[in-house]
Symmetry: C2
Subunit: 408 residues, 2 copies
């Protein structure tokens, strides 16, 4: 339990690195990201890893295997957060990975062991997620350089401000032949484990998700002077669509969320002339998701036509569903069995994870850990020390199971 | 037409005093407010008025009547704006008033003539409107000192930053015996004059308006991990209410607008845990308005109960309907007739105006001027030079008609 307590204490230390005094927010390439990388590098060093920051700002560490220079089994997760975040989503996976590495004797495994703390998974700052893991997997898109944050700073400028050279970004790419696979431990972010009274589960696949930036354009006007038959109120139109997103998603068996919405110009006595909002759609099967997307788009066009509005939709993120590797899954299952759970639960992840990007370079699998009430992306995010201890035991055993697979 | 062109040019000059490079926004006690007061004071001086800034930041000017120290007929409007504003709402009334004053020979009227450029009518910065005219009318509420703007600056601090002493605020109050009445010229901010092919109208009454800050509280959570039956999505609830506000207002014959709405924390993959929005309700008759308000509140509570949300409603502004003074109305009508319009249109103002506050100190009346498409609170706000010339002629004639009433 000592190691589990250490991990929880370190989650607290990382949670203190926030750009806001009253809640946790740590975004890509921020001063707090710099401080988190430094802290993680220090912990990696203490665990016996050699460390470096890659060309995408991911913090990495490595222990050699039986020979120097062997392909590596990657363990990791991300250290960026959503606004007003909890302290375990991402960070817990990085700390579990470091602790597993600290338990491995250098020079003993049939592969190198690497830990990676991805720089950006949530996409909070630039709207596009998985920037860190996409750089590592070689699926970077140069169009992203011109993405801007809310202060108008481009990703290109943010790289430079962080001390990174955008021209060197391709150096973050890990060729598939240098990798054995990728394992990630993560809180479930859902209530299934808690409802089943179990600590751990193996992930079968990661939901396919698509995200859109939506805009409803109307015409601003004085709230008093504009009769209803002359109004083109962008907010009433957008609100109708928000309600439709929920109805159509439920009906189609997918998960649709409008997380962001703001009316402009935003005067209390001004009819909104423009609304900017977001859509996040995810499902176990890509076809279900895309069918509901088509229904939502049709509803948006109907609302816009009826209300004299214009609707715009830009895709800002797309990841199709990813199936976890069967060999790595069985290693995770062996890890869970090592904790005394003879029949590990297996289900799909409704949330996206770095593995969705990493799979372009190497096979992936994931270990899920129970969290209180299924709550995540909220300061109430919580785990128990006993569950963390079980996850650490399972994660270490999973790594040794992969080693056994490679020894055969 | 020379004076009308001058007025339009000065509207352009004022429109350049904006806190944003790409659109017009000039709020209470801002550096741009300072610059606007200075410019207006200069124009007042050129027009022969003695000038001062009162204890509430209103810019004032005065021409004495037949004797020094007579009660004053006030002419005026406001020089603050909504975000992304047009250039005529408020400013045009101030400039028409200055131009009327420039045509009056000092020492000739049976009252003093004063022009006032109110510091705050829209309430953009602190949420509570009519701060300038309420100070003048003696209906200031000391609770307002702790109102804060979006940067957390209190009204008290903003007064000090502007160089005003909050302790001297009562000095802005004009005792009723020092006033003869208040006349304001303003764009209609609605389509009635344009539809009737008329330039000018007299206002019969100003709509009663109430404004509320609304909050829907839910629980933030990860967009993927939270099944629908566990969600408490504040935005879907708020969106249902926005649609209801429109439906109930139409049905009740009142005008309801949600001008401001933002979801928090605002992550694209986070279920909104809180929505802050506004409600503006206005009607010719206060009873109609309050009946619809009760229906909206009941709808909000029903939505909140059904969705596991909490609804909060705080009144930030209330002004009951104000009937214009019959003598001053007949002076305005005489002014309109002087432009050749033998049967002036008369109707109620759906928008609020400084007169709603000034009426606590002295009788009021208003002259409406046609604007293009009824558009206001939008950069497309427009008037014609010929209409401005007619308004100037009518406004001057109205002042002389009030003088005739007082000469009897």
């Amino acid at each position: 339990m000592h190691d589990a307590q250490l991990i929880l204490d370190r989650c607290d230390e990382l949670a203190a690195l926030s750009s806001h005094a009253d809640y946790l927010e740590r975004v890509h390439l921020s001063p707090q990201h710099r401080a988190a990388n430094d802290l993680v590098a220090q912990w990696m060093t203490e665990a016996g890893l050699s460390t470096w920051q890659d060309a995408a700002g991911n913090q990495c560490g490595r222990i050699e295997g039986r020979e120097d220079g062997l392909p590596a089994l990657l363990l990791g997760s991300h250290i960026d957060t959503v606004p007003d975040a909890g302290r375990f989503d991402g960070m817990l996976g990085v700390l579990l990975a470091i602790q597993v590495a600290s338990r491995v004797e250098p020079g003993t495994l049939p592969f190198a062991l690497e830990v990676v703390a991805f720089s950006d998974e949530e996409g909070t700052r630039f709207g596009t997620a998985l920037l860190g893991s996409r750089a590592l997997a070689g699926t970077w898109d140069d169009e992203w350089w011109s993405l801007t944050d809310k202060d108008g700073i481009s990703l290109f400028e943010a790289f430079q401000d962080f001390g990174l050279d955008p021209a060197r970004l391709p150096g973050a790419f890990r060729r598939p032949e240098t990798l054995v696979g990728y394992l990630e431990a993560h809180i479930e972010q859902g209530p299934i484990l808690e409802d089943a009274d179990r600590r751990l589960a193996v992930v079968t696949s990661i939901a396919g998700a698509r995200r859109f930036a939506l805009t409803m354009h109307g015409k601003a006007g004085h709230a008093g002077g504009s009769p209803y038959d002359r109004r083109r109120d962008a907010l009433v139109g957008a609100s109708e669509l928000v309600v439709e997103v929920e109805r159509l998603s439920k009906q189609g068996g997918v998960v649709g969320t409008v997380g962001k919405l703001e009316a402009f110009p935003g005067g209390v006595n001004v009819i909104p002339g423009r609304v900017e909002f977001s859509l996040d759609l995810r499902a176990e099967f890509d076809d279900d998701r895309d069918a509901v997307l088509a229904q939502i788009h049709a509803a948006a066009l109907e609302i816009a036509a009826r209300r004299g509005l214009e609707f715009e939709q830009h895709e800002i993120y797309r990841a199709d569903a990813v199936v976890c590797d069967l060999d790595l899954r069985s290693a995770i299952e062996a890890g869970i069995r090592a904790t005394g759970d003879e029949s590990p639960l297996a289900f799909w992840s409704r949330a996206g994870h770095d593995g969705m990007a990493v799979v372009a370079a190497t096979p992936i699998a994931m270990l899920f850990l129970r969290c209180a009430g299924g709550v995540s992306h909220h300061p109430d995010e919580a785990v128990t020390k006993a569950d963390v201890a079980a996850a650490l035991e399972a994660f270490e055993a999973a790594v040794r199971a992969v080693a056994d697979q490679h020894a055969l």
